[in-house]
Amino acid sequence: MPEDSSLRQPATRAHPARWRDVLYVLPQREGDLARLDELAVADAPVVTVIGKYNHGKSRLLNELIRRDAFAVADRRQTVHLAECRHAGVRWLDAPGLDADVAGEDDRHALRAVWLASDIRLFVHAAREGELDAVERALLEALRADSRRTRRETLIVVTQADQMEDDDALGRVMSAIADQVPGAGLLVVSSTRHRRGLEDGKTLLIQRSGIPELERALADALARVPAARAHEARLLLGEMRAELETVRRAEAETLSSLRQQQAAQRHVFDDGLETLLAAIGRDMEVVVALAGPDLALVADTGRERYATTAAKLERAHIQVAYSRACIHLDGFLAGHGVSGLPREQQTAAGSLNTVMVAVMGVSVKFRADLHRMFCEAPGRARLQAAFAHYFELSRSRAALRDRITESSVALDAADRALAALPPDTAP
């Protein structure tokens, strides 16, 4: 039995390197990409016979290719995809579609039906009567695929000779026609065809239905090149459209995240600048005392428990400085900037704050406060230092991560689009 060993591979394994970038974005398109690969190398049209086992698939194929190339048996015989070439067509005999749907046989069947075939002959034995649920589901899928890809499916009722009489056959045909409305049904008898050929009985050959099937097949085969071109265009077009949708959505997400990032920063910068300016104005009053800075004059040991002008002045500026810091701290907390990033935290919990890291704990005298709050460079330094920690805050880091993710996804969509060949060259 001839066999194409390349078909032993799992049913839908797309070429990994060629489609890696597309698959990364559209993993659900693995089957379509594999089909594109098939279309790129396919030469002769491919006709696949499918159906449940023992419905006469192999026997029908033998009649169509005029020789006994496919094994025929009462038990489930066709376990691998069998192939034969005849009259410029690749004929495939798919394994029977039966209960063990997850087995190796069925993967071969799927490969034959979905990847390798241009035309499917869906075979159903007349004696079985109506189509069962599995057959109907598969047929529904095949007909939907036909509408989309223009790959045709011919429904062939076989073993007509096994029916009691024409009435019985007529009842079965009418029942099946009700199950798949709008589908043309073909009736054949491989036995009659064989006998007709062997005995030279033209009438028997006519009555076998095979010539009619062959005419229908010939018409369908003539439409294969156009159907293939359509399918390649369709698959590429669909995937391109899908990728463009993904790309557009990702670009919008990225742009909106970046706007959000800029807007948050703007609000932070503006609010902080306003607050620092207000603190600066208040601090002008605190530090604008006439005369020498009493805070810089050391007290004596005798005054250790006494109140001195110098001590009052030191308390005065420190309390003003503390109040300014408490304002700043409140503003920062409102923007999620309170605790230090973990890598900067120390064993002393009291020091693990952005306020302490930025302001330090060194003692601030009048000149220091003036430099820090009342002069533009001082405020700019504080502005920059707090903005640094704002960017390290948890919510800003999370936003940055989302922007990175989105930008990676956008690049992936761009790479996938670049990897997709133009519509005209599948």
């Binding site: 250790r304 005065h316 309390v319 704050t353």
Partner: protein, 309 residues
Amino acid sequence: MGVKIFNGKDVQDFLRIIANLDGASGNERAKQVVHRIVSDLFKTIEDFDLTPDEVWLGINYLNKLGSEGEAALLAAGIGLEHYIDMRLDAEDAELGITGGTPRTIEGPLYVAGAPEQKSKARLDKNPDPDAGPLRIHGRVTGPDGAPVADALVEVWHSDSKGFYSHFDPTGRQSEFNLRGAIRTGADGRYEVLTRMPASYGCPPSGATQTLLNQLNRHGNRPAHVHFFVTTDSFRKLTTQFNIEGDPLIWDDFAFATREGLIPHVVERTGGQAVGFEEDGYRDIEFNIELTPKVAGKDNQIVERARAAA
């Protein structure tokens, strides 16, 4: 004026129940201390007619203080740490122990495990352009003035931002920067080369300074250098000296300044000869006189939680 119920039988009975003062088991000392503290608190509430809002403000403040890890800072700020020192001094006076380098508070920023060096150590590991070179040296002696060999002199102080290594939220200092452990030789001498510490204070928006704001007090300390001096034969000395000329010297929020702990700062040249890169440096001689054990025991050893690295 508010109601007066504190001295009534009801409140007094209530206080005894709160501390389980008349109950059989439990820690008697804890019961008495809790009874006293709660009694004083109740009396404060009555005397100042504190409103429920004010009481809850205080309770929530304790939570803030704890969550910010500032209880030890507040202890210094409300003089608790210095009060303990005052009591130890009075105890010494009663025992007739005089002389010796004055003790003062330890503070919360000691870190055990600085690598030990013989006689001399360089403490600054990180550049700090705002802090000039400082040489500290002196002699460890006993009460008789004789040099003490094998004394371990541990030194730690802040950088120019007021931050200590291991507790620097800017992450600029490496391990044991500005910290050292020097073992004296037979001459009892120690010497460290380091950079000038800065005066620093409580976190400006932290719980301690927030309370001090209500008292119109600052939470700042003069620049200082911490010492532990440990030997086998004498009492362990916990002290600090202040940097002479610092305006905060007698205005320390932790009340740790003492006469005898403000050594002179001398401007010197020839820094390269002692081991500095610069020529000009400041020099402080700080001699340490240890005090004897009491009945063979160190009655001043303080057990408290300390950081180790």
